[in-house]
Symmetry: C2
Subunit: 207 residues, 2 copies
Protein backbone atom coordinates (compact mmCIF):
# COMPACT_ATOMS: atom_id res chain seq x y z
CA UNK A 1 0.00 0.00 0.00
CA UNK A 2 1.40 3.39 -0.98
CA UNK A 3 1.10 6.39 1.29
CA UNK A 4 2.48 8.82 -1.28
CA UNK A 5 0.69 12.10 -0.65
CA UNK A 6 0.29 13.41 -4.20
CA UNK A 7 -0.50 9.93 -5.52
CA UNK A 8 -3.40 9.75 -3.09
CA UNK A 9 -4.62 13.28 -3.89
CA UNK A 10 -4.45 12.70 -7.65
CA UNK A 11 -6.12 9.27 -7.65
CA UNK A 12 -9.12 10.12 -5.48
CA UNK A 13 -12.36 9.53 -7.31
CA UNK A 14 -15.98 8.59 -6.64
CA UNK A 15 -16.74 4.89 -6.19
CA UNK A 16 -20.36 3.82 -6.70
CA UNK A 17 -20.10 0.01 -6.52
CA UNK A 18 -18.71 -1.83 -3.53
CA UNK A 19 -17.82 -5.43 -2.76
CA UNK A 20 -19.28 -7.19 0.29
CA UNK A 21 -15.97 -6.93 2.22
CA UNK A 22 -16.43 -5.05 5.49
CA UNK A 23 -14.47 -1.93 6.39
CA UNK A 24 -11.98 -2.64 9.18
CA UNK A 25 -12.94 -0.67 12.31
CA UNK A 26 -9.34 0.33 12.93
CA UNK A 27 -9.33 1.81 9.44
CA UNK A 28 -12.55 3.69 10.21
CA UNK A 29 -10.83 5.11 13.31
CA UNK A 30 -7.91 6.26 11.13
CA UNK A 31 -10.29 7.93 8.69
CA UNK A 32 -12.16 9.73 11.48
CA UNK A 33 -8.92 10.81 13.10
CA UNK A 34 -7.79 12.20 9.74
CA UNK A 35 -11.10 14.05 9.46
CA UNK A 36 -10.54 15.57 12.89
CA UNK A 37 -7.24 17.09 11.71
CA UNK A 38 -9.00 19.40 9.27
CA UNK A 39 -9.02 23.12 10.07
CA UNK A 40 -12.26 24.59 11.40
CA UNK A 41 -13.69 28.01 12.06
CA UNK A 42 -12.10 29.30 15.28
CA UNK A 43 -10.80 25.75 15.81
CA UNK A 44 -14.35 24.85 16.88
CA UNK A 45 -13.99 21.24 15.61
CA UNK A 46 -17.77 21.05 15.24
CA UNK A 47 -17.91 17.64 13.48
CA UNK A 48 -20.04 14.77 14.70
CA UNK A 49 -19.96 11.38 12.97
CA UNK A 50 -22.55 8.64 12.86
CA UNK A 51 -20.99 5.45 11.50
CA UNK A 52 -23.81 3.30 10.12
CA UNK A 53 -23.17 -0.39 9.52
CA UNK A 54 -26.52 -1.76 10.66
CA UNK A 55 -28.36 -3.19 7.63
CA UNK A 56 -31.80 -1.85 8.51
CA UNK A 57 -30.58 1.69 9.12
CA UNK A 58 -28.44 1.63 5.98
CA UNK A 59 -31.52 0.60 4.00
CA UNK A 60 -33.68 3.29 5.61
CA UNK A 61 -31.14 5.96 4.68
CA UNK A 62 -30.81 4.55 1.16
CA UNK A 63 -34.57 4.56 0.69
CA UNK A 64 -34.65 8.21 1.77
CA UNK A 65 -31.84 8.99 -0.70
CA UNK A 66 -33.77 7.21 -3.47
CA UNK A 67 -36.79 9.45 -2.83
CA UNK A 68 -34.62 12.58 -2.89
CA UNK A 69 -32.93 11.44 -6.08
CA UNK A 70 -36.23 10.63 -7.83
CA UNK A 71 -37.67 14.02 -6.78
CA UNK A 72 -34.67 15.89 -8.19
CA UNK A 73 -33.75 13.64 -11.11
CA UNK A 74 -35.78 15.61 -13.67
CA UNK A 75 -33.73 18.76 -12.95
CA UNK A 76 -30.41 17.12 -13.81
CA UNK A 77 -31.53 14.82 -16.64
CA UNK A 78 -30.68 17.44 -19.21
CA UNK A 79 -27.25 18.31 -17.81
CA UNK A 80 -25.78 15.09 -16.43
CA UNK A 81 -24.06 12.70 -18.83
CA UNK A 82 -26.23 9.59 -19.47
CA UNK A 83 -23.60 7.24 -18.01
CA UNK A 84 -23.44 9.26 -14.76
CA UNK A 85 -27.27 9.30 -14.56
CA UNK A 86 -27.31 5.52 -14.94
CA UNK A 87 -24.53 5.09 -12.35
CA UNK A 88 -26.38 7.25 -9.81
CA UNK A 89 -29.65 5.38 -10.47
CA UNK A 90 -27.90 2.09 -9.76
CA UNK A 91 -26.05 3.55 -6.78
CA UNK A 92 -29.09 4.83 -4.90
CA UNK A 93 -31.40 1.95 -5.84
CA UNK A 94 -28.71 -0.53 -4.80
CA UNK A 95 -28.44 0.82 -1.22
CA UNK A 96 -25.54 3.20 -1.86
CA UNK A 97 -23.85 0.71 -4.17
CA UNK A 98 -24.01 -1.82 -1.32
CA UNK A 99 -21.41 0.09 0.68
CA UNK A 100 -20.97 -1.77 3.99
CA UNK A 101 -20.31 1.48 5.87
CA UNK A 102 -21.94 4.89 5.73
CA UNK A 103 -20.57 7.83 7.65
CA UNK A 104 -23.05 10.64 8.17
CA UNK A 105 -21.05 13.80 8.79
CA UNK A 106 -22.86 16.37 10.92
CA UNK A 107 -22.21 19.82 12.37
CA UNK A 108 -22.76 20.58 16.03
CA UNK A 109 -24.44 23.98 15.70
CA UNK A 110 -23.75 24.77 19.33
CA UNK A 111 -20.06 24.97 18.41
CA UNK A 112 -20.23 26.92 15.18
CA UNK A 113 -22.68 29.29 13.50
CA UNK A 114 -24.59 27.96 10.52
CA UNK A 115 -22.82 30.45 8.23
CA UNK A 116 -19.42 28.94 9.10
CA UNK A 117 -20.36 25.26 9.53
CA UNK A 118 -19.86 24.19 5.91
CA UNK A 119 -16.29 25.51 5.79
CA UNK A 120 -15.45 23.26 8.77
CA UNK A 121 -17.45 20.14 7.89
CA UNK A 122 -16.48 19.73 4.22
CA UNK A 123 -12.70 19.93 4.78
CA UNK A 124 -13.08 17.23 7.47
CA UNK A 125 -15.12 15.14 5.02
CA UNK A 126 -12.43 15.58 2.39
CA UNK A 127 -9.74 14.36 4.82
CA UNK A 128 -11.92 11.32 5.51
CA UNK A 129 -12.27 10.53 1.78
CA UNK A 130 -8.53 10.94 1.21
CA UNK A 131 -7.73 8.66 4.15
CA UNK A 132 -10.15 6.07 2.74
CA UNK A 133 -8.29 6.24 -0.57
CA UNK A 134 -4.93 5.92 1.20
CA UNK A 135 -6.16 2.78 2.98
CA UNK A 136 -7.35 1.19 -0.27
CA UNK A 137 -11.07 1.83 0.08
CA UNK A 138 -13.44 3.34 -2.43
CA UNK A 139 -15.70 6.11 -1.22
CA UNK A 140 -18.15 8.72 -2.34
CA UNK A 141 -19.50 11.89 -0.78
CA UNK A 142 -23.20 12.40 -1.37
CA UNK A 143 -25.30 15.52 -1.00
CA UNK A 144 -28.68 13.86 -0.46
CA UNK A 145 -28.73 15.17 3.08
CA UNK A 146 -29.04 18.74 1.73
CA UNK A 147 -32.64 17.99 0.76
CA UNK A 148 -33.66 15.58 3.50
CA UNK A 149 -32.08 16.89 6.68
CA UNK A 150 -35.15 16.44 8.87
CA UNK A 151 -35.96 12.89 7.78
CA UNK A 152 -32.32 11.86 8.17
CA UNK A 153 -32.25 13.50 11.58
CA UNK A 154 -35.23 11.39 12.58
CA UNK A 155 -33.77 8.09 11.26
CA UNK A 156 -30.54 8.69 13.19
CA UNK A 157 -32.14 10.20 16.29
CA UNK A 158 -30.12 13.38 15.89
CA UNK A 159 -30.95 16.27 18.25
CA UNK A 160 -31.96 19.46 16.45
CA UNK A 161 -28.56 21.09 17.12
CA UNK A 162 -26.76 18.28 15.25
CA UNK A 163 -27.30 18.93 11.58
CA UNK A 164 -26.35 16.40 8.85
CA UNK A 165 -24.16 17.83 6.06
CA UNK A 166 -23.36 14.78 3.98
CA UNK A 167 -23.35 11.00 3.71
CA UNK A 168 -20.12 9.22 2.84
CA UNK A 169 -20.30 5.63 1.54
CA UNK A 170 -17.18 3.51 2.05
CA UNK A 171 -16.12 0.00 1.07
CA UNK A 172 -13.76 -1.98 -1.12
CA UNK A 173 -14.39 -1.07 -4.76
CA UNK A 174 -16.23 -3.71 -6.80
CA UNK A 175 -14.08 -3.65 -9.92
CA UNK A 176 -11.31 -1.36 -10.99
CA UNK A 177 -11.89 2.39 -10.68
CA UNK A 178 -11.14 4.46 -13.76
CA UNK A 179 -8.76 7.42 -13.85
CA UNK A 180 -10.36 10.58 -12.45
CA UNK A 181 -11.19 13.14 -15.13
CA UNK A 182 -10.40 16.72 -14.24
CA UNK A 183 -10.31 19.87 -16.32
CA UNK A 184 -6.99 21.76 -16.40
CA UNK A 185 -6.65 24.57 -13.88
CA UNK A 186 -5.23 27.12 -16.35
CA UNK A 187 -8.52 28.52 -17.65
CA UNK A 188 -9.88 28.72 -14.07
CA UNK A 189 -6.95 30.57 -12.56
CA UNK A 190 -6.42 34.33 -12.60
CA UNK A 191 -3.47 36.47 -11.63
CA UNK A 192 -4.12 39.24 -9.07
CA UNK A 193 -7.47 40.18 -10.61
CA UNK A 194 -10.15 38.26 -12.48
CA UNK A 195 -9.51 38.25 -16.22
CA UNK A 196 -5.71 38.35 -16.12
CA UNK A 197 -4.42 34.88 -17.02
CA UNK A 198 -2.35 33.06 -14.41
CA UNK A 199 -0.45 31.40 -17.25
CA UNK A 200 -0.21 33.46 -20.46
CA UNK A 201 -3.13 32.93 -22.83
CA UNK A 202 -4.99 30.63 -20.47
CA UNK A 203 -7.53 32.44 -18.32
CA UNK A 204 -10.28 34.31 -20.12
CA UNK A 205 -12.60 37.04 -18.79
CA UNK A 206 -15.56 34.62 -18.86
CA UNK A 207 -15.34 31.15 -20.37
CA UNK B 1 10.81 16.75 2.25
CA UNK B 2 8.42 14.00 3.28
CA UNK B 3 5.39 13.12 1.21
CA UNK B 4 4.00 10.68 3.79
CA UNK B 5 0.23 10.97 3.51
CA UNK B 6 -0.81 10.58 7.15
CA UNK B 7 2.12 12.67 8.34
CA UNK B 8 0.88 15.53 6.17
CA UNK B 9 -2.76 15.11 7.27
CA UNK B 10 -1.83 14.99 10.97
CA UNK B 11 0.58 17.94 10.92
CA UNK B 12 -1.63 20.41 9.08
CA UNK B 13 -2.27 23.51 11.15
CA UNK B 14 -2.99 27.20 10.75
CA UNK B 15 0.01 29.47 10.16
CA UNK B 16 -0.46 33.18 10.93
CA UNK B 17 3.07 34.55 10.49
CA UNK B 18 5.05 34.24 7.31
CA UNK B 19 8.62 34.99 6.24
CA UNK B 20 9.33 37.21 3.24
CA UNK B 21 10.30 34.23 1.05
CA UNK B 22 8.12 34.04 -2.06
CA UNK B 23 6.02 31.00 -2.93
CA UNK B 24 7.44 29.21 -5.96
CA UNK B 25 4.99 29.43 -8.89
CA UNK B 26 5.53 25.78 -9.77
CA UNK B 27 4.50 24.95 -6.22
CA UNK B 28 1.39 27.12 -6.60
CA UNK B 29 0.55 25.13 -9.75
CA UNK B 30 0.91 21.88 -7.79
CA UNK B 31 -1.37 23.21 -5.03
CA UNK B 32 -4.02 24.30 -7.55
CA UNK B 33 -3.79 21.00 -9.38
CA UNK B 34 -4.29 19.20 -6.07
CA UNK B 35 -7.31 21.40 -5.40
CA UNK B 36 -8.76 20.45 -8.77
CA UNK B 37 -8.67 16.76 -7.80
CA UNK B 38 -11.28 17.25 -5.09
CA UNK B 39 -14.71 15.75 -5.67
CA UNK B 40 -17.50 18.13 -6.62
CA UNK B 41 -21.27 18.03 -6.98
CA UNK B 42 -22.06 16.22 -10.24
CA UNK B 43 -18.35 16.57 -11.08
CA UNK B 44 -19.09 20.22 -11.88
CA UNK B 45 -15.56 21.35 -10.85
CA UNK B 46 -16.92 24.83 -10.17
CA UNK B 47 -13.76 26.28 -8.60
CA UNK B 48 -12.15 29.51 -9.78
CA UNK B 49 -8.89 30.75 -8.26
CA UNK B 50 -7.47 34.25 -8.08
CA UNK B 51 -3.81 34.10 -7.04
CA UNK B 52 -2.92 37.47 -5.53
CA UNK B 53 0.75 38.42 -5.20
CA UNK B 54 0.48 42.10 -6.12
CA UNK B 55 1.27 44.19 -3.04
CA UNK B 56 -1.46 46.80 -3.51
CA UNK B 57 -4.21 44.23 -4.03
CA UNK B 58 -2.98 42.14 -1.10
CA UNK B 59 -3.17 45.27 1.08
CA UNK B 60 -6.63 46.17 -0.18
CA UNK B 61 -7.90 42.68 0.68
CA UNK B 62 -6.18 42.78 4.07
CA UNK B 63 -7.70 46.16 4.87
CA UNK B 64 -11.14 44.74 4.02
CA UNK B 65 -10.46 41.73 6.27
CA UNK B 66 -9.41 44.06 9.09
CA UNK B 67 -12.76 45.90 8.86
CA UNK B 68 -14.67 42.61 8.89
CA UNK B 69 -12.66 41.37 11.85
CA UNK B 70 -13.14 44.58 13.82
CA UNK B 71 -16.90 44.52 13.12
CA UNK B 72 -17.24 40.96 14.35
CA UNK B 73 -14.56 40.88 17.05
CA UNK B 74 -16.95 41.75 19.88
CA UNK B 75 -19.02 38.61 19.14
CA UNK B 76 -16.09 36.25 19.61
CA UNK B 77 -14.21 38.06 22.39
CA UNK B 78 -16.01 36.03 25.03
CA UNK B 79 -15.49 32.65 23.39
CA UNK B 80 -12.08 32.76 21.68
CA UNK B 81 -8.98 32.07 23.77
CA UNK B 82 -7.01 35.32 24.44
CA UNK B 83 -3.92 34.02 22.63
CA UNK B 84 -5.96 33.21 19.50
CA UNK B 85 -7.62 36.65 19.65
CA UNK B 86 -4.18 38.26 19.82
CA UNK B 87 -2.87 36.09 16.97
CA UNK B 88 -5.81 36.99 14.73
CA UNK B 89 -5.41 40.70 15.59
CA UNK B 90 -1.78 40.55 14.53
CA UNK B 91 -2.59 38.43 11.50
CA UNK B 92 -5.18 40.76 9.96
CA UNK B 93 -3.45 44.01 10.94
CA UNK B 94 -0.19 42.68 9.51
CA UNK B 95 -1.60 42.07 6.02
CA UNK B 96 -2.49 38.41 6.53
CA UNK B 97 0.66 37.80 8.52
CA UNK B 98 2.64 39.17 5.57
CA UNK B 99 1.82 36.12 3.46
CA UNK B 100 3.39 36.69 0.03
CA UNK B 101 0.57 34.84 -1.71
CA UNK B 102 -3.18 34.86 -1.23
CA UNK B 103 -5.46 32.51 -3.11
CA UNK B 104 -9.08 33.59 -3.26
CA UNK B 105 -11.17 30.48 -3.87
CA UNK B 106 -14.44 31.17 -5.67
CA UNK B 107 -17.40 29.21 -6.99
CA UNK B 108 -18.64 29.59 -10.54
CA UNK B 109 -22.39 29.66 -9.86
CA UNK B 110 -23.16 28.92 -13.50
CA UNK B 111 -21.71 25.45 -12.90
CA UNK B 112 -23.27 24.60 -9.57
CA UNK B 113 -26.28 25.71 -7.54
CA UNK B 114 -25.62 27.83 -4.48
CA UNK B 115 -26.92 25.05 -2.22
CA UNK B 116 -24.21 22.65 -3.47
CA UNK B 117 -21.32 25.09 -4.02
CA UNK B 118 -19.82 24.87 -0.52
CA UNK B 119 -19.53 21.09 -0.65
CA UNK B 120 -17.41 21.43 -3.79
CA UNK B 121 -15.34 24.50 -2.93
CA UNK B 122 -14.24 23.60 0.62
CA UNK B 123 -12.90 20.13 -0.26
CA UNK B 124 -10.86 21.75 -3.04
CA UNK B 125 -9.59 24.34 -0.55
CA UNK B 126 -8.63 21.57 1.84
CA UNK B 127 -6.63 19.78 -0.87
CA UNK B 128 -4.85 23.08 -1.53
CA UNK B 129 -3.95 23.51 2.16
CA UNK B 130 -2.71 19.93 2.42
CA UNK B 131 -0.58 20.32 -0.70
CA UNK B 132 0.91 23.52 0.76
CA UNK B 133 1.81 21.58 3.90
CA UNK B 134 3.33 18.76 1.82
CA UNK B 135 5.51 21.30 -0.02
CA UNK B 136 6.74 22.86 3.22
CA UNK B 137 4.59 25.97 3.25
CA UNK B 138 2.46 27.35 6.03
CA UNK B 139 -1.09 28.30 5.18
CA UNK B 140 -4.38 29.35 6.67
CA UNK B 141 -7.94 29.33 5.41
CA UNK B 142 -9.90 32.44 6.35
CA UNK B 143 -13.62 33.04 6.33
CA UNK B 144 -13.58 36.82 6.01
CA UNK B 145 -15.10 36.52 2.55
CA UNK B 146 -18.32 35.21 4.12
CA UNK B 147 -19.04 38.73 5.36
CA UNK B 148 -17.54 40.83 2.60
CA UNK B 149 -18.38 39.03 -0.63
CA UNK B 150 -19.42 42.12 -2.55
CA UNK B 151 -16.45 44.29 -1.60
CA UNK B 152 -14.05 41.45 -2.36
CA UNK B 153 -15.80 40.90 -5.68
CA UNK B 154 -15.21 44.55 -6.51
CA UNK B 155 -11.50 44.53 -5.52
CA UNK B 156 -10.88 41.47 -7.68
CA UNK B 157 -13.18 42.47 -10.54
CA UNK B 158 -15.18 39.26 -10.16
CA UNK B 159 -18.35 38.94 -12.26
CA UNK B 160 -21.50 38.43 -10.20
CA UNK B 161 -21.62 34.70 -11.06
CA UNK B 162 -18.17 34.15 -9.53
CA UNK B 163 -18.64 34.15 -5.79
CA UNK B 164 -15.73 34.18 -3.30
CA UNK B 165 -15.87 31.44 -0.63
CA UNK B 166 -12.58 31.88 1.19
CA UNK B 167 -9.14 33.46 1.24
CA UNK B 168 -6.10 31.23 1.72
CA UNK B 169 -2.81 32.82 2.82
CA UNK B 170 0.36 30.92 1.92
CA UNK B 171 4.06 31.40 2.60
CA UNK B 172 7.02 29.95 4.45
CA UNK B 173 6.27 29.93 8.19
CA UNK B 174 8.06 32.59 10.22
CA UNK B 175 9.17 30.44 13.12
CA UNK B 176 8.34 26.90 14.08
CA UNK B 177 4.69 25.89 14.05
CA UNK B 178 3.38 24.16 17.16
CA UNK B 179 1.71 20.77 17.20
CA UNK B 180 -1.95 20.96 16.13
CA UNK B 181 -4.38 20.48 19.00
CA UNK B 182 -7.37 18.31 18.26
CA UNK B 183 -10.00 16.79 20.50
CA UNK B 184 -10.32 12.98 20.40
CA UNK B 185 -12.95 11.64 18.01
CA UNK B 186 -14.45 9.12 20.48
CA UNK B 187 -16.97 11.46 22.14
CA UNK B 188 -18.03 12.81 18.73
CA UNK B 189 -18.61 9.45 17.07
CA UNK B 190 -21.79 7.39 17.28
CA UNK B 191 -22.59 3.86 16.17
CA UNK B 192 -25.59 3.44 13.83
CA UNK B 193 -27.71 5.98 15.72
CA UNK B 194 -26.91 9.12 17.71
CA UNK B 195 -26.32 8.32 21.37
CA UNK B 196 -24.82 4.85 20.94
CA UNK B 197 -21.07 5.10 21.53
CA UNK B 198 -18.80 4.14 18.64
CA UNK B 199 -16.26 2.97 21.19
CA UNK B 200 -17.74 1.67 24.49
CA UNK B 201 -18.25 4.40 27.06
CA UNK B 202 -17.17 7.20 24.77
CA UNK B 203 -20.07 8.85 22.98
CA UNK B 204 -22.75 10.46 25.11
CA UNK B 205 -26.31 11.49 24.12
CA UNK B 206 -25.34 15.17 24.36
CA UNK B 207 -21.94 16.29 25.62
Amino acid sequence: MSFDFFGIIDSQRACRRFSADPVDEGDIDRMLESASHAPSAENSQPWVFVVVQNDDIRREIASLATQVWLNGRAYVEGTLAPNILRDVDEFVNGCFGNAPTLVVVCADLRRVSESLAASSIYPASQNLLLAANALGYGSIFTHFSVNCGEELQSILGLPSEISPYGIIAIGRPDGRLGIPRREPIGPKTHRDRFGTPWAPGEARPLE
